[in-house]
Structure formats: structure tokens, C-alpha cells
Symmetry: C2
Subunit: 525 residues, 2 copies
Amino acid sequence: MTLTGTLLVGARDVTAEKHFRAVNPATGEQLEPDFACATQADVDAACRLAAGAFDPYRALSFAARADFLDTIARCLGEDTDAIVARAGLETALPEARLKGEMGRTMGQLRLFATLVRQGEWSEPRIDPARPDRTPMPRADLRQRQIGVGPVAVFGASNFPLAFSVAGGDTVSALAAGCPVVCRAHPAHPGTGELVGRAIRRAITACGLPEGVFSLLGGSGHDVGGWLVQHPAIMAVGFTGSYAGGMAIAALAAQRAVPIPVFAEMGSINPVYLCPQALAARTDSLATGFVASLTMGVGQFCTNPGIIIAPEGAAFEEFVRLSAQAIATRDAGVMLTAGICTAYDSGTAALAQRPGVTRVGVGHEGTGPNRAQPMLLRTTAKDFMRDPAMRHEIFGPVSLLVSYADEAELHALTESLDGQLTITLQMDENDTAYARGLLPVFERKAGRILVNAWPTGVEVCHAMVHGGPFPATTDARTTSVGTAAIKRFLRPVCYQDLPDVLLPPELARDNPLGLSRLVDGTMQSR
Amino acid sequence: MTLTGTLLVGARDVTAEKHFRAVNPATGEQLEPDFACATQADVDAACRLAAGAFDPYRALSFAARADFLDTIARCLGEDTDAIVARAGLETALPEARLKGEMGRTMGQLRLFATLVRQGEWSEPRIDPARPDRTPMPRADLRQRQIGVGPVAVFGASNFPLAFSVAGGDTVSALAAGCPVVCRAHPAHPGTGELVGRAIRRAITACGLPEGVFSLLGGSGHDVGGWLVQHPAIMAVGFTGSYAGGMAIAALAAQRAVPIPVFAEMGSINPVYLCPQALAARTDSLATGFVASLTMGVGQFCTNPGIIIAPEGAAFEEFVRLSAQAIATRDAGVMLTAGICTAYDSGTAALAQRPGVTRVGVGHEGTGPNRAQPMLLRTTAKDFMRDPAMRHEIFGPVSLLVSYADEAELHALTESLDGQLTITLQMDENDTAYARGLLPVFERKAGRILVNAWPTGVEVCHAMVHGGPFPATTDARTTSVGTAAIKRFLRPVCYQDLPDVLLPPELARDNPLGLSRLVDGTMQSR
């Protein structure tokens, strides 16, 4: 597979005057070829194509839309070797991880294909006419969900496949009937191009309008800015840093027509070690914790960035064992030089906050962009005094926080910002302890785990990868799992429409055989 | 029932230094008693009480929460006569209308009580553990919806009961498990107090925490501003003007923790007269139109503010008959002096736009705050040239717009802003015409009607009272009907929680007997 470095504006390959190159983070060397930086005219062309494709694309039958998603999965599958090879060069992620992520990406497409084919995502609601009702007859009212319009997608650096060009945001937007204009992540432009070309092949194979998908590259922030502010764009999906997400949300709010921004901005994912569990399983907790912390060089949105535990002998032992475990860990290559620089400065700054002590480090790195794993400790008192300790440092660092008593535990918990996850390590005797915290966790986090580590995110129906601000800009959603489709849907109500004008999911004879809410009661197919 | 004019801060009656009075719009006279203007400290007290009530209130069983909503309906019912009498003085709405609205308000509470009791609003989703899955086992994952937290409600002037203190926003927030802090509408403070006291009686009768509901009055914008910016408030429901909604949205966006604002800001609700229907039913269309336009002195969010029809003899006849019908209409009393002034200046300005002609008026008013019904006409060309014609004028005025050909029809339709409703008056032979417009209507409006008038809004499951900006600030929602509960919910995922910690809607033995989505398939109770 030859990379051209062009933009994919609908069916056209578009070159540019300005270019940039990808960098191999393991060596610091630039990679061939040159990649085009989109101009504002390119962004405009892609967005206009997307707007034009919206009505015909959403008019497809559910079966045809589902086939399209399956076809993308098939086309990606054909190119797996090339994509994994290029992604390895651009991200320094190991081949096994990338192959796994490729499988996850294709599985995600197929899961959404099944969802779309089943049809209940359209949430049909029917209140039939009651012509005899007094004092006023009731009209026939039918509601379904439709796509919001073209969606701008900003891929994540840390999941170059599952959360990038054909990742969770793209697939949930396409599933909802929304064309996608993707801003290619500059850290893996070659991977992006290969994936984008696979999507384009699927569009051709399915005979869809070219505007259903475009891919725009660039090295700075201007492409993203033009994209978010383009009048044709009706929603934004973003995964990345707090600063990036907030910049996009601010641009969206300035539009003449404001649009929703679904920005997943990460969090520190507190892990609570309950007293009984901490005492009974000190060793395995320390081992499990350090494995979760250092997996993928700590580059997960759900990395355990803070451990909360009662002070005392068991905690001291946990600290000692965790420090011992981390001391054996290598300095892994981070995704980009920017991420590594932020990690180094972030850990250096955190280590110097009042009340913070460094208690363990992994091996020092040799070569560029290596992140030395690190453990720090502090007390709940110091943590609550210092808002700087609450900020995520992306990478393999965690802060171990001990509290003196129950009052401190609860004050600390209430002081937490919104989180993607909160984890409880608990034994049976910790149940009352856990029960006291659970209502607060529900207010603070999108996902609550027991006796697991937060770094695994299952793509399924019940997953919530989201949470209260600042974990995301909209706590009412998830960016992983089938419920992610809801971000890009809005309801439309049809009053007294003749059957000939009703969409099939609402037609009186229920030709799709859907489960529908009729007069408030679910009626099965 | 004696009015005290106090704020209802939880269970406390709070007096103030600053006061204001309600005005009888029919006479312009001030009404007894003085009503307290809340201070920032009062707002803070109410919001803190709401925050404290959130966990215990949402922990109620669904049955107990439903009983509370039913109890509010019962308490309101006990006070119907007093409420209707006071509302009549404060709004000049006729008794029959207010009694009907009272019934609607109680019916809405009971409908949400049934919804809450049934339980599927919590959308339980379960992906059971798969310990044997390779290469990785799957954890047990369960998702439910919970309330977002305390909600600020801004009532509407035009529905002093169904969209005010105990109206659609309040009931959907309470149904979602969210305490409510209501900013009383200054146009009907006495009505608000009576309704608020009924809610408070229901809180006492059900033994709920006092912070579940507070009512704060004031004559200016400061109370609303403090409320929207209070850190305890997690969402806002608003029904009113574009300027009001946008001001609240701007305040919410400036918060340290941004929150969603669900502002329903009205629209011009285009009505399309299809060629065949216009020719065949000119007379009845004109009669129906003028009846819809002047109902309630035109003070409905879904008032038909613009008629779109093909130019020609049938349209001229429609204009003539509509003008004839409106000439018989009285000048009704508007809700407030402010609304009447805006109506007078808005209609005067619109009548002077280039290409606009006044074609009919109703009787001139005698006495304060009377709105003279009015019809104006223009062409599609002029309408598209002049953005000023797109703005809603609240009251009994409509603009009749004729287009020359299909190209103009489609350009005009694409140029429309987001709407609450779009209506088609069509006959069987208009089907092709309607089919061509429908996809555009779906992008532009929350509700599409055929052969009806938009001014009736049914409270049911399929209703959408919402629509793309500027009709609302969030097109993904409705403020009428049971789907309105979704505005105040967010998902939480529970991973591997023992049954003893799971909420009943997610417990393994399904004690509530709910329909739940298990592995992506709905399993009935």
C-alpha cells in the first residue's frame, strides 16, 4: 500500500502547498511521505459534501446502512498488515497491541452494524389517534430518532485505530446516519490515510454519496478550528486533552448556531483500597495496580492516577510493594514528543508540590520519548489543599493518597472532580464502607468498578466511557459502546402523517418488525 | 388561601427587603400582596438544600417517587379554585382555559408518576460476565440512568400552570430524581406561590427532605443569574424568549463547571399550504388558520407565524378570506405589558420591511395591553433577502409568504431557521410535493404536522416540543411529554458490583420486574 499524503475530500485526493511529516517516536526520525495540510477551502469542500450527503445517506434502509459498516470492517481487515505496520512506526505501540486494537475496531464496526440492523436505536414511540377522546380528540403522534447532521471527528493519539479515523466516534456517527468529516491526528497521518482509504473503498462498494466521509490533515490547530466552526457541522466528537477539548467547546459555543461537543478529556480515575481488602490482599493489589498503571506506558484515559487508602501499616506495605514493583519497569516509548515532554514536566511539578514525596520510579529511559514510571505519595489533607494535584498527567504516574479517618475520606471524595471511572478494591467486610461511598461515586463518575482495574474498556451495550465534567463536556453520554450512538441523534415527531409519508420504523403495519413504545408500553416485534 | 409573598426556601418562608407586585394585565393595576425579591444568600441557601436533598431523594424507590408526583397532583387539585382565581387576575387568561391548564398540569404529574413507577425510564442495560471468553474474559457490566443533580427551572409566562412552578420542566426533573429550585415568573408570583405551597405540602406528606423543592421570586434578572451560576445546579430548564434563553445559556457556559441548558425559545412555525389543498379547501384553511393564530391571543410557542403557499388565484383568495376572518377578531389582553409592547413594536417594524404589506387586522383594543391581530404578506424573494422577517413576534400576527416556483419553494425552505413545528396542509394529490419537502422539514423542525394546526401540544410519549436552534438550545430533547425526562438523566455503569451494592433496577434477580436490555436484546419483565 502506497501512501500519497493527500487529503481525502470525498472521492477526491487533494494535494496542498503546506506539508508535514510523521515522526517515529522511538527514534525521533521523520517518516516518509509528506502529508498535506488542509486549507480552509478544503475544509469547506469536505463539509459541503457532507451536508449534501446527509439526506441520501440517512434515507438508506437500516440494512443498507448496516452493510456499509460491515463493509468498512471488511475493507479494514483486508489492509490489516499494512495498517498495523504503519501504526507501529508512527506510535511505537507494539504489534500485538495494534493487532488487538485492529480487531477491536472491526468488532466495534460489526457491533454497530448489528445495532443499526436491529433498528431499536431509532426508539420508535407511537401514541395512536384517539378520535373519540373528550373533550378533545387526540392526534396520531409518532416519534423516531434521526441523525443530527454532519459530525466532525477528532481522533485520539492513544488509540490510533479504535479511537481515530474509523474509531468509536466515526462509527457511532455513521450508525446514526451522520456523514463524518474527520480531522486526521497529526501523530499518525499515515495510519489515518490507510484507514481513510479503506472507508472510501467501502463507500464505493456500497454505492454511497462520496460526502459520507472525508479526511483532512494538518499539523496545527487551524484545520480543527475551521471544521468546528463550519455551519454544516452539527456535532463534534473528540478524545484528547482537557485543553484541546475546552478549546473546541469554546469554538463551538461561539458559532451562530451552537452545536454539541462530546469531548472526552480524561481523568485521574481514583482507586479506593478498602481497609479489609488492603490488609488482606496488599501484595496482589500492589502487583495489579502497577501492571494497570504501566500498561501501554500509562497512556490510557482510564489510567489509575490516584490511589486512596487509609493510613497505617497496610498502606505503608502497599506503598513499599508498589515501589518495588515499579522499580522493575522499563521506560516505554510514549506516543509523541509532546506527550513525553508534558509527562516529564508534569511529574517534575507534581513531585515538588507541598506534601508530595516520590516513593518509587522505574528504569530511566535511553533514547527519545521514554517515560520513566513513577509513584508519589501525599495525604488527603495536602491533596484537598492543592487543586494542582487533581490534574491528570498522561502517562505511567500515580499519586498514593492516605487519609486519617472517615471524615477525611468523605471530604476527599466529595472534593474530587468528575471522573471517567472510580474503582473500589473491597472484600466482603468492606460492604458498609463501600455502600457509604457509592452515592458519591455515582455523582462523580461514569463507571464504577469493583475489584478490577480501570484500564480495560469493554465495547458493549452497558459501557459508559464518559462522566461528569471535566472528564467530559457532557456527562449524559458515553463515547464507547452502543449507547454512543445517542450523541448524534435527535427526536422528530410526526403528527397525523399518512402512512405513505411515514418512515418504515413508524409505519402503521410495522414493516421492520421493531419493538415500539405504543401508548407508553413496549410492544415486542 | 392567603398569599404571604415570601420565598419558599425548602421548608422555610423567607421574607426580604426588596419587594415587587404582580400586575393585572387587563387593568394595569397592581395586585396585593408584596412579593419578596430573593437575595444571593437566599439562592445559595435553596441550592445548598437541593444539593443535600439529591442523594436521599434519588434513593427513594420508584414507587415512592411516583407517589410523590401523584401527591403533588392531589395537593394542586385541592387548591384548584384558589389557583385558577389568582392566575386569572395575574394573566388575564380566561377561567375555562386556566381550568383546562390545571387539568393538564395534574395529568402531566400523573403521567410522569406512571412513567417513574414502571421504571424503564432508567434504561437498564446488562452485559453479563463472560468468564470463559478468550483471549480476555468479559466483566459484568450494568448501566442505568440517574438524575444529573439539582435543576433550575424558569417557568413560562404563557402557561402559568403547565409550564411554570409545577409544570413540565419541574415534573420531568423531579421524575428523574433531581431536586428543583424554581425561579418564580414575576408575571404570576401569586399563582407561583400557591402552586409552590401545594408542592411543599406534598413534600411534607411524603416525608421527603425539604430541599427537594424551593421557589425564589424576584423582579429582575439577578435571581436567575445567581441560580444558573450556582455550583450546585447541574442543569437548567427554561421556556421563554430567545433573548432570555441565550442569556441563560451564556451564563451557564461561563461556569467553572459548564452545565446543559434546555431552553425552549419559540419559533415561527411555518405552515405550508400545498397547491391541491389550497385550491380545494381555501375557505376552511383560512378559517382554521385564523382560529389557530388568534387562540390565546396568539401567545403560544407553536403559533403559526408564517404561511407558505404558491402564488396565484387560490393564494389571493386565501389572503382575502383570512383578512376577512381576522377582521372579526377582538384585541385580546396579553400576558404582560412587556409582551404587549414587544408585540406592538414588532408588528410595526415588520410591516415596514421592504416588500411587506399589511393585509388584514382585527379590532383595535380598548384598555391596556390589548393586541390587535394582524396579517401581513410578502414574497419568498423578499423573505429570503431579509433575516428580520424570520424572527418570532409573540402574539397574533402572521406573515403570508407566496413563492413563484418550486426552486423558490425549496430555497425558502432551506433558508428557514430551526423550528418547533412545521405543518403541511395537503390533499392526496399533494403527496409528491410533500415527499420532496419532508427530509428538509426533518432537519428543520422537532414536529411535523399534516392537516392540523400547530397550536395544540399533546402531553404523551411521542411528543417532541423542541427542535433545532434557535427553537431550542439543544435539539436532542423535548420539553413536553415523557421523553422530557431524558434531559435530566445521565448514565452510570457498574462493573462487577456484588448484588448487595447494585441498585434494584440492575440487580441480578430483577426484583422490579423491569424490561432490560440484556446483551443488546430487550428482555421483557
